[in-house]
Symmetry: C2
Subunit: 419 residues, 2 copies
């Protein structure tokens, strides 16, 4: 195994740099235009759901889904999501094409109507806890509503629960967004202990709300994927049923641009949300709900379908992970996690080197997720986290992009080390 | 012509009542279950758009509409709505399946971020002007956000503009919802003069917003339908481009439960709304947008398609109007407007008789729109307005329902007259 950069002399580093610069320039000369920035399914993944388009009937449970009505979704689709997520259909609201919309709207509801207490718009300050690195769109929702974000580091089994248990003693801390399974971007699934501790939280704010964004609930890429404890099985033990709002969607099962989302919540929360929906919508797209039910048939159909996605995704993850291991392993400048599912690989490089790595990649034609975006306000305090999204580029392009990323990481770290 | 009830003696009225009661009981014995409550298209109308389901390709302007992206809609769909509404495609945002959602979300934005001034959530009071009778779902949005509603009577050419021009001198009056064409429920189209006066308003509130709900923009039922002045052609003359947010949708062109909506606004407003959308959605359902573009081809395709709806709807309107004329004409107890399009007939009965008419209908198995719902807070101060929705019931059922409605109206009025 080659020597760690952290143990090299300046001369050794400069020699290494020269070799890397040559490789870098070779890449640059190729005039690449590769995108590893967003968790977009590849075209071959989209093709897996072509049969959705062949469903043209429109009668579901005896009702014509083309017309108005059925505010919270068609019963068959509520059942499908209920079975999939391990809850009763009555606790499911079927939503629009993106779960992001459900989350944004729910936070809006908390500001306008409150969550069992004063509307948040009437408070001087609303704070949310943000496991970091995390999902940039959660942070964007918080920023939109003027919610102050507090970083909570991700550990190997979920967010730092000691810190969370301490922070929720502050009554102005009103909630947090989490991705409990194959967390975006770390790929970590919350352990049973973490889920239990979350369910058992006793926040000072009685209207504390956890948005349980289960975006990757069935998105294993290996056969023996992670198992996430169903938080709705645990919450009643602590009388905390109202604390969690769960969302999921078919965006990464069928079509990201035309999926179906769902929200899962307690009876109380469902009743409150339906009151809002009654003012907001007449119904979400029921034909699309029906198409999805006919396409999947049942929860097991979803699981089987996801195996096809895994078959396409696993080799892509492997390409990136192999390059990381080969080029960065033992170099003392980077660490990463080998996820069993989800859409991302989270790469932590030497402090102060992530932005520079991103710049170098960009100059050579590879776009990464904006460095910093995995942190609130776009500020990674250590400038170390890079989110890699391997799903979208075709295999050959991904292979090049991953190599280039490794070269750029090494170059950025050497620059830092030699000062 | 028979004598007006208002000119009959008590004995004459009681004799008339007896005859009517016999007819009423005959109807009651039929055990009817008819619904004239909501503006739902009939099943034959839905069938007009079956070919939408045959569109299974997914490439629009070279882009794969199945995947993420294109926040404000696919360009071809923006163009379709732009052409249809007489505005530039850049001033169009293609939305979710219902324009109600666009309106609700825009008002939410005004409360969270303001409309160029202080967020409305920070104000002591926000008032909206409400042309009455009007659309209950507009009132529901206002109620949800705690907006105080002020009634403004509808006249023959639109809302009472003298009153509006006076009321907008109050800075806490922040806006109004209007249905400018085939108004819900009156069926009245705002005259050019009214549109001009609206466009020329100089409200005290600089962030005054008019939600121009053009739900029936191309929904003529006769060949020579009403022409509505395009307010976006008039606004620039008064430097009022930012005052109006227009919405429309295909709900009553294709499928109410699975249509495509659009929002039309000034450059400034579009920019503000896109900022929100960036936090709220990744994109609305682009496959459905694409299907609609392929189905309609262009704005002219929409117009041609609407003629097929008119062919189905016109006879239904005629059935109701004929019964009204035959049974209530010259009786001095009711008035109505003969609309050239839209979805409703607005019947004004003698003051204090609308609720009772609704009750009598219900007892005999015909459901009307909840009496009072056409007014803010569900309170019709005169208890006189009844909204008739003739689109959904099949012709034979509608014929019965309309007859029964006339009988009930007469009975309710006689009850009132004889005290």
């Amino acid at each position: 195994m080659s020597k760690a950069y952290t143990e090299m002399t300046k001369e050794e580093l400069l020699a290494e740099k020269k070799v890397l610069e040559e490789r870098y320039n070779e890449f640059k000369a190729k005039g690449l235009k590769l995108d590893m920035s967003r968790g977009k399914p590849g075209t071959d993944q989209l093709d897996l759901s072509s049969a959705l388009n062949d469903i043209t009937d429109y009668i579901s449970d005896g009702a014509d889904v083309r017309n108005y009505g059925m505010l919270d979704g068609i019963p068959s689709c509520k059942k499908l999501f209920g079975d999939l997520m391990g809850v009763d259909a009555k606790n499911v609201i079927v939503g629009p094409s993106a779960s992001l919309n459900l989350m944004f709207d729910y936070i809006g509801q908390c500001f306008t109507k409150g969550a069992g207490a004063k509307p948040w718009s009437q408070l001087d300050e609303v704070k949310f806890l943000c496991p970091v690195p995390g999902y940039d769109r959660h942070f964007t929702i918080c920023e939109y509503y003027g919610i102050k974000m507090i970083n909570v580091p991700m550990k190997e089994d979920g967010p730092d629960m000691d810190m969370i248990e301490d922070l929720v003693k502050d009554e102005s801390v009103k909630g947090m967004f989490v991705v409990p399974k194959y967390q975006n971007p770390t790929g970590i699934t919350f352990s049973d202990e973490v889920v239990e501790r979350i369910a058992a939280l006793k926040p000072a704010a009685k209207d504390f709300r956890i948005i349980w964004d289960n975006a990757y609930c069935v998105h294993d890429i290996v056969e023996d994927g992670d198992k996430l404890l169903n938080i709705f099985d645990v919450l009643p033990k602590y009388n905390n049923e109202d604390m969690v709002i769960e969302v999921c969607s078919t965006a990464k099962m069928t079509f990201p641009g035309a999926g179906v989302s769902a929200l899962i919540a307690s009876d109380n929360n469902i009743a409150q949300i339906k009151k809002r929906l009654n003012a907001e919508v007449i119904s979400y797209d029921k034909m699309n709900q029906h198409r999805h039910v006919e396409f999947f048939k049942d929860a097991n159909g979803v699981i089987e379908h996801m195996k096809k996605h895994a078959k396409i995704l696993k080799p892509k993850f492997d390409i990136v992970l192999n390059h990381l291991e080969e080029e960065l392993g033992g170099k003392g400048i980077a660490s990463w996690f080998n996820p069993k599912g989800g859409y991302f690989i989270s790469l932590d490089v030497m402090n102060g080197c992530a932005k520079r790595t991103g710049e170098l990649c960009k100059e050579a034609g590879v776009v990464l997720t904006t460095v910093g975006a995995t942190y609130p306000y776009g500020i990674d305090p250590n400038d170390s986290n890079i989110r890699i999204a391997p799903s979208y580029p075709p295999v050959d392009e991904l292979d090049l992009a991953a190599q280039l990323l490794c070269i750029c990481t090494k170059l950025a770290c050497i620059e830092k080390l030699v000062g």
